[in-house]
Amino acid sequence: MSDVSPDPRTPGSAIPDPGAARTAGMKTETVVVEVKDLTAGYLPGINIINSANLVAHKGELIGIIGPNGAGKSTLLKSIFGMVKVRGGDITVDGASVVGLKSDKLVQRGVGFVPQTNNVFPSLTIEENLQMGLYQRPKVYAERLDFVTGIFAELGKRLKQRAGSLSGGERQMVAMSRALMMDPSVLLLDEPSAGLSPVRQDDAFIRVSDINKAGVTTIMVEQNARRCLQICDRGYVLDQGRDAYEGTGRELLSDPKVIGLYLGSLGADGV
Amino acid sequence: MDWGQIFNNTAYWIFSPETIAYALAATGLAVQFGFGGLLNFGMAGFMALGAYGYAISILSFGWPWWVGILVGCAAAVVFAIILGIPTLRLRADYLAIVTIAAAEIVRLLLTTQLFDEWTNSADGLGGYHAGFRGANPFPKTGADGEPIIYGFGPWQWTADQLWVRVFGMLLLAIAIYLVWALMRSPWGRVLKGIREDEDAVRSLGKNVFSYKMQALMIGGVFGALGGVVFALPSAVVPATYTTSLTFFIWTILLLGGAATVFGPVVGSVIFWVIMGFIDNVLPLLAQSDIPIISLLSSQQAATLRFILVGVALMLIVIFRPQGIFGNKRELTFVK
């Protein structure tokens, strides 16, 4: 595993110290999430995931890309207990989580950020963040510091109603809410969806920052190029199974992947 | 148990004024909710306005009985407008909340001493029948001076009793005809569209608010007529027009089929027949040796039937919300 290069943006890193217990950015071989031969679907008889496999080690940033309908979101939701598992196994920190409801997964340290309907519009930002931490309220101040360190804008707007925020701002709140619980693994469902190009790049950089602060992250994405540029390893999903796997850089330059899912990487920039 | 007597008492309800009155109110609710998708939980209020409008017009103002009926209908229209203007542009739930409250307000206004002069507050009004009975086309006494009994078997009535039933069924027939004619016309088509998706209908150039208000008014008028028919044979007492009455009408409507023309009538007949049956049988059972039921006093047994109505309503909503005649594919609230 490569060391982390110093962040070229700021000489003294802007990433806050999350605490002594965590070594910022170090990736280990410990398996946090493992998906083995998974078959899952919503409606009886129709499987969206067909024998999918995935491994996430501690501290890694994993990207899941693929065309529409490949089952990326479904895979993520299966890990979070929102989709019926019909075969195979999912383990988190070594223990099987198949059949557990989502709240049990939260207790085990799995944080999930959905693509839409991801904030409580009638609550303020601060209240939304509190919702992320209601299981362990004592560490609130510490976690709030960590989160506002990454999302400075939120720190200034804690009293604002979440319903009045734009799509991109809600994404930030939703991600922060998941971070409040100090998750051992963070699941992100298309964090760049619905954002303007500059905001998308901003979102990707922040996801990278969060991961560097020590949070194992699995993200599903439509913007394949940006996703692969920042992730450690990626999976390309096709029709419910993982078709290609490799490091971010490998997949970025793999002609098969380019042909199928990235479009031409010429000046037109698709 | 005298089954002959029980049969007579039960069959009575097929042609009783109460049955007809409830059928009229349920028909009104069919227009409002079944076809229009409006959640009216204040039908008792409309019925009260019809009944009291009729009685007060005769007793306090000395107007003819048919003017009394028109006054009752007019009161219903005004009530519908008051309820509709603030709520019809909002979500359906708001109409539901407002109508429950409004109906209770009507009942309380009728009970309070404040208007005692017109309403006789909690004691209610009676003795307004002269005009109506005067218009009775059926001869009351025969050549021998004895009162004529019309009908046979369990359905034997005096001229006045017959007149109430005939008049009521006439109103009911007109109401049913109107519902049928309306719903197969372009107007009915627009209403069915609104029930499913207001925005779609708006985008086709229809004034959605106006249609909803019309449905509310029509249903309200039918409810008021139901109140009138209810008042015709006896008296009007405010305690009748409670929220329970509203939910009996709902039960009848859902039982028969919310968006059907004949569902309300059939539902009302079934409702009253069963209630009559239980009312006759249960107290007798309570006096017998059958376990559990014999623990009840006769009075409690009679009241038990109202609990059963509640249970029936729940079962219908859970297991067969389209009712007897309803078409599952057509209803928005049936998934």
């Binding site: 070229p8 925020l165 940006r226 037109d268 920039g269 698709v270 | 499913e196 779609a200 985008s203 086709l204």
Partner: protein
């Protein structure tokens, strides 16, 4: 919703979708037959008076929009100074996510109220007019999530679309003699349209039994029942499987041939290129470009709005995961991000006061 940016042709290269045949040469009669055999119709040109800049006047505008803004809290969703939509042409309203296209669309159709501004349709002032009246004036719209009334039959859906129906009045509806004849005429017209859209076999089926694509066709056919002058389509291609696209495009082109004006919002750039005579590009609430499709697609402002001007930046380098130096483009990107963040903080501090 996919956030894939449209494929813009690098300057000078023809657009060739992967796997498709090269564009055929125009036939001597001037029409072009595409690979699928349908006749491509010529585009309308000469719509604007002058250069293609945002807000340019049109020779025959059907819709004129002035100073329309719509704010949601601190966010300005729409801020259009001046826009004219040409008559009897097909205009596309495009732009990246969050550009304000759907908000503007809803404002024009009367489904939302603007904070400021006026607009006129056929010379008549429309601001403040409720949506159902707008529809009666000849401006109809379809919805992104199809609103075919599934609990009515296909034929009933169609008949609902006709305006000026005598039978829709409360008292007149009770007497069939008053509206029967007109209803039959409406039914004939409906069956005619259904035949054109190949839905006539389904006339008596509940709309719920139609497939997604068929519902789109039904909604379009239904909108035509009122003989509108302006047809506004909200993402007509959304959720339509590719097999149906060609047919849907042909139907939209038919509308122009019948004398109607079409304004549609879309993300699908192939569709826009195929049938639009005029393209209006929005970004962050404003109109950033206008013009015929070919020129607009190559406008740098448009490409920037869609793709962001920093496609060459490698975020791996920016975030420090991959060794490398930050080049000028990357620095610019970081500047932009920082500016956006500071603007947002400043706004929040304003509101906090």
């Amino acid at each position: 919703m996919s956030s894939n940016p449209p494929s813009n042709p690098p300057a000078g290269e023809p657009v060739v979708p992967e796997g498709a045949a090269a564009q055929p040469e125009p036939t001597p009669t001037g029409t072009v037959t595409t690979a699928t055999g349908s006749i491509r119709r010529p585009k309308t040109s000469g719509l604007a008076k002058g250069d293609s800049v945002p807000g340019v006047a049109k020779n025959d505008p059907i819709l004129v929009i002035d100073g329309v803004t719509r704010r949601f809290g601190g966010l300005t969703a729409v801020d259009v100074e001046h826009l004219e939509v040409p008559r009897n042409a097909i205009t596309a309203l495009i732009g990246p996510n969050g550009a304000g296209k759907t908000t503007l669309f809803n404002l024009l159709c009367g489904f939302d109220k603007p904070n400021t501004g006026t607009w006129s349709f056929d010379g008549k002032n429309l601001s403040g007019i409720p949506s159902f009246k707008v529809a009666r004036m000849g401006q109809v719209r379809t919805f992104q999530l199809t609103k075919a009334l599934s609990l009515l039959t296909v034929l009933e859906n169609m008949k609902l679309g006709a305006t000026g129906q005598k039978g829709e009045g409360l008292f007149r509806s009770i007497i069939p003699a008053i509206w029967r004849k007109q209803d039959n005429e409406i039914e004939d017209k409906a069956m005619d349209l259904l035949q054109r859209f190949k839905l006539d076999a389904k006339a008596d089926d509940y709309a719920a039994s139609l497939s997604g694509g068929q519902r789109k066709l039904l909604e379009m056919a239904r909108a035509l029942m009122s003989d509108p002058t302006l047809v506004m389509l909200d993402e007509p291609m959304a959720g339509v499987n590719p097999a149906l696209t060609e047919s849907l495009l042909d139907h939209i082109l038919d509308l122009k041939d019948l004398g109607m004006t079409v304004l549609f919002v879309e993300h699908d750039m192939h569709m826009v290129r195929h049938i639009a005579d005029w393209v209006v590009v929005m970004a962050e609430g404003k109109v950033v470009a206008e013009g015929p499709p070919e020129t607009v697609m190559e406008d740098k402002a448009v490409i920037d709005a869609y793709l962001g001007s920093h496609q060459d930046v490698d975020l791996g380098v920016v975030t420090g995961r991959v060794a490398g130096e930050l080049d000028a483009s990357a620095e610019e990107l970081l500047e932009e991000i920082k500016e956006a963040e500071e603007a947002s903080i400043a706004e929040a501090e304003e509101e906090n006061k």
